[in-house]
Symmetry: C2
Subunit: 340 residues, 2 copies
């Protein structure tokens, strides 16, 4: 299986580390055999070798801050569109930065790869939140696999759980904690910290960006509930179709008052289906501390899925991280390998 | 897909209801098309029709307490071994009663079906706890699917989660609440009830048997950790190889004392792997009330899986029930349908 990395930041590097560490194990368990033929990254340069690049050497080079374009290779001057147009590969891995308002450039990368007959896996929320119908249909027409486990809850296998292991169960509602940064901040505030201090700590730990709006205003969670509405319920929602409220209006005093009533604040993303259609929302909620989602602390994510046959099933796991998100791509690759 | 039911108690009937209710939906979503050709049950009689039985009529008949053997059909006098030997079917569903000390008669049913070239799905813990290596190897040699999602946590997709969606992650340990009856009793005791009253209530609700030993002495949980050790870690453990302690020694006073320390008693099944091999155990443990498993109340089950790539992933869901266990068989059938 010839792999093409478009974007080689923490996620792409996390996957590369897993591929190197697990090479023998994956070969033994699944007969899995993959080679990275091309990498193109706006900042880290690009390289292409139809016989396969030395992935360990590529990681070392990037680790030292050296450009991949300084490597003698065919594609050293290729930007992402050129790489996708020229490289011979079976799977394109899209792991560039998320732009939730335009979905670009990731959406064009995926379109081009599918048109060239490549399977695609991505961790990028933009294309799925904005163009999932078009992209899923395009993959279907081409007989190609298009997987995106890492767009929601990182490598915690929520989407695969729904597709593979809840097959046959009708889902009515999904409700959960989809943003680790805000859950970390709320958990710290319960410990007595005020919002500004908790945010500063989240930034120091690398959970929150310098401009934390996407997390604290709820946009990241909104992108994820939109993806769930579109890929699980087949809706055609855009993020702007749904109400979204973040955590910036919640004070330490609110949290203390809730605790006195045996309740905890959580930023809840919700997707549900009723007679009128498919709906999504993001808003802080006070949950009784006996509720399964109330016990989920720190940067962890969780999702409760309400089904006809099973009632409620909840999955709890990491929602971010280099290896945790890289693993989502690995799991998608193994799904392609085993079931295509 | 021609189905053969061996055992037609609550689980077989629960699956039948789902097959009837979801016929159109499963055909539309997966092209799934199944017909029940044979049913054999020690108490409810047996029937066989190579062109397919009327499943709704069979359910109605059993609901009225009428024997299937009074139906005009080819196999009205066939016991389970004869049915397996004579029927032409693609999949045998083993859902007879669990005998955890011998694994019989279910193990012989599965052996015979695999020898005749049928795929097999079962909810029966006995064969998996005692003979998993032999049966898995026999299915592998015959190029047949052998699935058993319902043996642990009913239809909550723990085993499929591990096989399909955690593929590529190395699992170090699994730890969880695998018996709903004891978890219900412990939860009631936290509310002030004593053990005898909580057990009586569990019996009244149908959670506990008249002879509750298999639940309260930990044997049911022991069978399940043994299955996990064998099918996830490839061990060859028997239930008798592992230490097992139930909940009968825990008093209301113990529970009150634990609560005063911010702790809750849970009956924890654990499976882990270290340099010396694969180990399993069942024992009550005091967990801090902030622990994800501590918040799991009532008859619900939960399992925390510790992996290399993701850290901890927890799944919480029903551990028993007519439709919930029937769904496990349905999910196994869909896995066979989609991936074979």
């Amino acid at each position: 299986m010839r792999l093409l990395f478009i974007g080689f930041g923490t996620v792409g590097q996390g996957l590369s580390e897993l591929l190197l560490e697990k090479r023998d194990e994956l070969a033994a368990s699944y007969g899995f055999d993959a080679v990275v033929v091309g990498i193109s990254d706006m900042l880290k340069g690009s390289a292409y070798d139809p016989d396969g690049l030395d992935l360990a050497a590529a990681l070392a080079r990037v680790g030292r801050g050296e450009s991949l374009s300084d490597w003698p290779s065919v594609g050293r001057s290729w930007d992402a569109p050129t790489m996708i147009a020229e490289a011979e590969a079976d799977v394109m891995l899209e792991a560039t930065y998320t732009d939730i308002s335009t979905g670009q450039p990731a959406t064009d990368h995926i379109r081009a790869a599918l048109e060239r007959g490549m399977h695609v896996t991505t961790t990028n929320k933009g294309p799925l939140a904005l163009h999932s119908r078009e992209l899923i249909e395009s993959a279907r027409k081409g007989g190609l696999q298009f997987l995106y486990e890492g767009t929601v809850m990182a490598g915690t296998p929520l989407l695969n759980l729904i597709r593979e292991t809840l097959a046959g169960a009708a889902i009515h509602e999904m409700r959960g904690i989809l943003n680790g940064t805000t859950n970390y901040i709320l958990t710290q505030m319960e410990g007595g910290m005020d919002y500004a201090a908790a945010l500063a700590q989240a930034q120091q730990l690398g959970y929150a960006e310098a401009v934390p709006d996407a997390d604290v205003l709820g946009w990241d969670a909104l992108a994820k509930v939109t993806i769930l509405a579109n890929v699980v319920f087949g809706a055609g929602l855009k993020p702007s179709d749904s109400p979204c409220q973040g955590i910036t209006e919640i004070s330490s005093a609110d949290i203390v008052r809730a605790a006195a009533d045996g309740q905890r604040y959580k930023l809840i993303g919700r997707v549900w289906r009723d007679g009128a259609g498919v709906h999504a929302s993001v808003a802080p909620q006070r949950l009784p501390s006996t509720h399964p989602l109330a016990g989920v602390g720190g940067a962890t994510n969780a999702m409760t899925i309400t089904t006809d046959a099973l009632g409620e099933v909840t999955i709890i796991g990491p929602g971010a991280g280099r290896r945790q998100t890289g693993f989502a791509l690995l799991n998608d690759l193994l799904t392609m390998w085993r079931h295509s």
